[in-house]
């Protein structure tokens, strides 16, 4: 079926359902403690009598709003621009030129999957930058629109550079290779080796959030907890250890479940000059990254991942907003061969193998140690004055910081070849980043007082998706590097994003 995008199109009718669902979710997230109270009905009869009608009223209004805005939303293609007209009270018309579109991505949550529609997200770059999304488009319409945009965009790009465009476009469409497909076993490995401390932090934040919300509406539990502590029902260290272990076990389970949900049946394809990633159990997500848009490639591990011999790869794309995870593709469970394949595809003929990795000055370590020791002494001092019974905590924290300074210094390295810049860093795991020199946006040569006194300087390399720092190297070397990097950018004619 051929779709005509030159006339105004509406989204799939499912969009109404999805907009309503979204609005209700937002409302519920805001007022859930009140709803709980209303249903519990205890000591708040007058409260619940108007809360429930209010919630229902808001939901009804949002439904009407969704229906109207659905019928007021059109999109069409005109003069190589995607035009979106929308708005109930105030009308908006958005023109998105094809050459400004960075990527077109799809997302499907469970409702999308049942109703056979896709959510379309369009990413643009530039200082005025915006992202646009269409809640629901039928599967084939979404694909047709994306193909049309990408193809036309490619053509525009080719016309402006070379004449023999047609040939290349066709050639590009044909290649399609599967690079990575996570099996269940690998998926479990990915889940097991997640950073569990991060999930622990999330749970902690979640619990804290729930507690404050409950406190706000007068169902405080703070007093009760305080009561337990003062009564000595949780005697000191043993309790803390037990709680920590329990906490880590729950975090472990949660991050395992989360990875299975997010990365289920992950497939990474190479299509011509772009990568396509599909993943997810309930919410199936499909993202693409074109070589040209990818600014930095990172691959990292942690002790557990090293045991399983795999990395998480991140392809960072240029983004309009501050670097968010949304604009970078994360591919877990890549073994070293996969990493090599990804590098080969992206960097092609550039010189990036056999990197001559340089370490940074030992003053980097000394400065870190001094800084952490100073901070630690202050921290220990403050705790000693205010709560001497918790003195162990700041001491352990300081020891940890001092030890990690050493690890961080050991892992800091950098390498520059004719074509690429490499930065290695990390604390317990290794974190590698590589980028072609011509994609650099600007270079900053910095020195702190500490560095000046020791004839050192740092080079901060800024890109369209984050910065890479080369800290504490000899000043004259930093200067040379600064000049060389600028020369590389300024002598390059390649399109960098």
């Amino acid at each position: 079926m051929i779709h005509d995008f030159s006339v105004p199109n509406r989204q799939s009718i499912i969009a109404i359902v999805l907009i309503i669902y979204k609005t209700i979710r937002v409302v519920v997230r805001q007022v859930w403690p009140i709803i709980i109270i209303a249903f519990l009905g205890r000591n708040s009869s007058s409260y619940s009598s108007y809360v429930l009608p209010a919630v229902i009223g808001v939901s009804l209004l949002s439904m009407i709003w969704a229906v109207i805005s659905y019928f007021k939303y059109y999109f069409y293609i005109k003069d190589d621009e995607l035009v979106i007209e929308k708005g109930v009270l105030s009308k908006t018309k958005l023109n998105i030129p094809f050459d400004r579109i960075q990527s077109v991505n799809f997302q499907q949550n469970i409702i999308h999957q049942i109703t056979k529609v896709k959510k379309l997200e369009i990413d643009t770059a530039g200082s005025s930058g915006n992202e646009f999304s269409m809640e629901a488009l039928s599967l084939e319409k979404a694909d047709a629109l994306r193909d049309l945009i990408l193809k036309r965009k490619q053509e525009l790009l080719q016309f402006s550079t070379t004449e023999d465009a047609e040939e290349e476009v066709l050639e590009v469409e044909e290649e399609r290779t599967l690079i990575l497909n996570l099996s269940i076993e690998e998926l479990i490995k990915v889940g097991v080796s997640q950073n569990h401390f991060r999930s622990a932090g999330l749970i902690f934040a979640g619990i804290f959030y729930v507690l404050t919300q409950l406190n706000d509406i007068g169902l405080g539990v703070d007093d009760r907890i305080e009561g337990y502590i003062t009564q000595g029902m949780l005697p000191g260290l043993i309790a803390i250890v037990v709680i920590t272990i329990l906490f880590l076990m729950i975090s472990f389970l949660i991050s395992l479940v989360r990875s299975v949900l997010v990365y289920f049946n992950l497939k990474l394809w190479r299509l011509g000059d772009k990568y396509k990633l599909e993943k997810g159990l309930f919410t199936r997500k499909e993202t693409t990254a074109v070589d040209q848009k990818i600014q930095i490639m990172e691959w990292s591990d942690n002790p557990l991942k090293r045991l399983f011999n795999y990395f998480d790869v991140q392809l960072k794309q240029a983004s309009s907003v501050q670097v968010k995870s949304a604009s970078s593709i994360v591919i877990p469970g890549c073994n070293p061969t996969h990493v090599k394949t990804l590098q080969n595809n992206w960097l092609r003929h550039m010189v990036y193998q056999s990197l001559d990795k340089q370490s940074v000055s030992h003053h980097y370590l000394i400065r870190k140690l001094l800084y952490n020791a100073l901070f630690g002494v202050l921290f220990i001092g403050v705790v000693y004055i205010l709560k001497p019974e918790f003195i162990l905590f700041p001491i352990l924290f300081t020891v940890y910081k001092l030890a990690s300074s050493w690890l961080q210094y050991r892992k800091r390295s950098y390498a520059v070849t004719d074509d690429v810049l490499y930065i290695g860093r990390g604390t317990f795991g290794f974190h590698h980043a590589i980028m072609p020199l011509f994609k650099i946006q600007s270079v900053s040569l910095t020195e702190s007082l500490y560095e000046t006194r020791r004839g050192l300087a740092s080079v901060n390399v800024l890109t369209a998706s984050g910065s890479m720092l080369i800290p504490f190297i000899p000043k004259d070397l930093a200067m040379k590097l600064n000049n060389y990097l600028l020369y590389s950018i300024e002598s390059s004619r390649q399109a960098w994003m």
């Binding site: 600007s442 910095t446 890109t463 984050g466 000049n483 060389y484 020369y487 004619r493």
Partner: protein, 176 residues
């Protein structure tokens, strides 16, 4: 310029170096602007602190109440001293292919943005700067604000000239 298949050996020493650049300092009146804005900033903080002690003075521990004025005093002196000497360190330079801005007293930095990586640029004037007839040149790059550059303390005419120079450079870079 390098063609796509040329691969000449580069003599790093022969590359144009940051060391040879002569920077133009920002206008001297910018110091006054900096000091006035700092003054306003601290005035607001001090009034805020005073109101806090009036409203909630009894809730703040005595020890902290005694320490805070000294901390504030030290911070005020340090910021003014840094502003005073820091302004002299600010300078900029235009080269054939890029723009350089240097600043910093304790943390020195030299940032270079090639014209080919600039998205757009504009001249802005804050209220205080307008009184002293000064303007800021903002240079925008793609992808977030981390690599953006703003050069303060320029005469409006200079800023406009620099802006049109940069815009013309961006255009000619695109045409090549």
């Amino acid at each position: 310029m390098l063609g796509p298949f040329e691969n000449i050996q580069i003599e790093i020493q022969a590359l144009p170096s940051l060391e040879d650049v002569s920077f133009k300092p920002v206008e001297k009146t910018y110091l006054t602007v900096r000091l006035i804005s700092l003054f306003i900033f601290w005035a607001i903080i001090l009034v805020g602190y005073y109101l806090l002690t009036v409203v909630a003075g009894s809730d703040i521990p005595n020890l902290i109440q005694q320490i805070i004025p000294y901390v504030l005093l030290v911070m005020i002196i340090v910021t003014f001293v840094i502003a005073f000497f820091g302004v002299k360190r600010k300078g900029y330079a235009l080269r054939d292919r890029d723009i350089i801005y240097k600043k910093g007293l304790l943390w020195k930095s030299n940032t270079t943005v090639p014209f080919s990586r600039i998205q757009h640029c504009e001249v802005k004037q804050g209220p205080i700067a307008r009184l002293f007839n000064l303007a800021v040149l903002h240079i925008y790059t793609a992808g977030g604000s981390s690599s953006d550059l703003s050069i303060p303390g320029l005469l409006p005419d200079t800023a406009q000239t620099m802006k049109s120079f940069v815009l013309q450079k961006i255009k000619s870079e695109e045409e090549v």
